[in-house]
């Protein structure tokens, strides 16, 4: 019986397995293959999945990309990404509000610790320096909240999760629904660790895709 022909994705997976294709971090192999296939087929990017705003949003967060103050305890974390439309056009005017707990899972309700308003640059890129959030007692998973707005686009409310969260037991594909608030596996991002054991840093890529109005 003849073998069915390999799909493009199967072929690329085989290339990756045999070492003839490699993917630079911070993208996972699956993400890179998705992008390859979309480009090949001229497909639109899917908008970033929506995920609830939660009870701790606060207007007028300070304009800063440095949420982590010198000496703050917790694993230093840099989150970065690009804000684009579903046709992959960079959105330069995007405003990104982020808020999270400290490393122990406490939200600052009285003030603005670990809350910020960011502006994407002319390429739609954004980045902020923070700490890995702790587990808030009312929620199952570590997370960072996002509210992304840009003229001409639907406002996006979502949350970033971490594949390293112990709740997923190393298998977010299988276990991401353990937190019923998580609406999509896509929101659980891989974590890259850099530095040495005495000075470890985490980095996460979280691209944001907005729908046009």
């Amino acid at each position: 019986m003849p073998k069915p022909p390999l799909t493009r994705r199967d072929m690329l997976m085989k290339c990756a397995a045999l070492g003839s294709l490699s993917v630079a971090s911070p993208f996972s192999l699956a993400e890179a293959l998705d992008a390859w296939e979309r480009n090949a087929q001229n497909k639109a990017l899917p908008p970033t999945p929506w995920c609830g705003i939660g009870p701790f949003y606060k207007r007028r967060a300070p304009h800063t990309a440095r949420l982590r103050a010198p000496g703050d305890p917790g694993l230093p974390l840099v989150v970065s990404g690009q804000v684009v439309s579903t046709d992959a056009t960079a959105i330069a005017e995007a405003t990104i509000e982020v808020w999270q707990t400290d490393h122990l899972g406490h939200y600052d309700v009285d003030g603005y610790r670990y809350r910020a308003t960011l502006a994407a640059n002319s390429s739609g890129d954004y980045s902020f320096d923070s700490v890995m959030p702790g587990h808030y007692p009312g929620r199952i998973c570590q997370h960072i909240h996002y509210l992304v707005a840009a003229p001409g686009y639907k406002t996006l409310i979502t949350q970033l999760y971490f594949a390293t969260d112990p709740v997923f037991e190393g298998d977010p594909d299988k276990n991401y629904t353990r937190d019923y608030v998580i609406t999509s596996r896509e929101l659980v991002r891989s974590v890259t660790l850099t530095g040495d054991p005495k000075d470890m840093h985490a980095a996460v890529s979280f691209p944001l895709v907005l729908d046009r109005l």
Binding site: W50, C51, I53, P55, F56, Y57, R59, H106, V109, V181
Partner: protein, 327 residues
């Protein structure tokens, strides 16, 4: 001498008339299954609980008589609403919203929301759905950019109100049903004409999410509070801030003005965990003076003003619901 005795007795009786009765447990409602979720009707006439055995039980208050038990057939549900006349709404985590009439154990109507919308009903605020005072309309806020006003019992949607992108966290009808006050996740209060759905006024004095909202008895003011740890009174016609109560010890989860308009009550929420007991408070609305504060032995799961003017709070243990008269 006789004059002095009469005066002393008069003073004592006046003092007695002004002193509220001591905080007391007035009903203990036994349950055969642990309570997971609980709501009390706005008029304090009944309380309903979703229990570990996935049945909803409803009791009369203050008698504590078990009125009915509804089998949800294995649903992992949250109670959304108990109307003044005993109708019930519940939602499960898969997005199904079910409504029951006051006496019938069969569902009056059932509707399916996307899973993420139904998740709104599992949130901190117990105020995401409300019946109009006439009982004819039902405002259902969800975690989307609109809030639906539907007709009972058809479930037909009459109109939708725009909400901020994060959705609506609390909603209230004025006593004459002419206005709907909506607290958004962005902390902004919006007051609408309930017949047209047109925006009448808005207020931006709160920065964090408001979980609690209510109208004054005469409908001229709206009181709201939430993550800012304050309660604000706002002119319902202009949206202007009238006054502010606080800062309070913690997040405001629920606010209710007494039927006679004389008192404002609040249920707080510990910001570090909703599973910890938090204070309940009562103020005199005219003076803003606090007249009662009490931290119950467990989390205050439900609260309401009774028809005879008492502020009731319900806590639970594994085997019972405890109804407390706080004021």
């Amino acid at each position: 001498m006789r004059m002095l005795v009469v005066t002393v007795l008069l003073v004592l009786s006046l003092a007695d008339a002004q002193t509220p009765p001591p905080i007391a447990e007035i009903s203990t409602l036994s349950t055969t299954s642990e309570v997971y979720d609980l709501l009390i009707a706005r008029n304090g006439k009944s309380v309903a609980a979703f229990c570990e055995d996935q049945r909803i039980r409803q009791w009369s208050l203050p008698q504590g008589q078990l009125l009915r038990t509804i089998d949800t057939h294995g649903r992992n549900a949250a109670l959304v609403l108990v109307s003044d006349d005993g109708r019930l709404l519940a939602a499960d985590r898969d997005g199904t919203v079910i409504a029951w009439d006051a006496t019938d154990a069969n569902a009056a109507f059932q509707t399916k929301l996307p899973r993420y919308r139904a998740a709104a009903f599992f949130r901190t605020s117990p105020n995401t759905a409300v019946f109009s005072h006439s009982g004819k309309y039902l405002a259902l806020s969800a975690v989307t950019d609109t809030m639906q006003v539907v007709e009972w019992p058809s479930g037909r949607s009459l109109y939708t109100l725009r909400s901020p992108p994060g959705g609506t966290s609390a909603v209230a009808f004025s006593g004459d049903d002419s206005r709907i006050a909506v607290a958004g996740t962005d902390g902004i209060l919006r007051i609408y004409d309930s017949s047209s759905g047109k925006l009448v006024a808005q207020n931006e004095d709160l920065l964090g999410e408001s979980f609690a909202i209510d109208f004054s008895a005469d409908g001229r003011q709206v009181v709201a509070g939430g993550a800012d740890k304050t309660a604000i009174f706002v002119d319902a016609a202009t949206g202007k801030l009238i006054r502010r109560i606080g800062p309070l010890a913690d997040v405001v989860a629920y606010l209710a003005i007494s039927p006679d308009g004389m008192h404002l009550s609040a249920k707080l929420l510990r910001e570090e965990s909703s599973a910890l007991p938090a204070p309940v408070l009562v103020w005199d609305t005219a003076s803003g003076k606090k007249v009662a504060e009490w931290t119950p032995p467990g989390v205050a799961l439900g609260a309401a003003w009774s028809q005879d003017g008492h502020w009731l709070v319900v806590t639970s243990t594994v085997t019972a619901l405890h109804v407390w008269r706080v004021y």
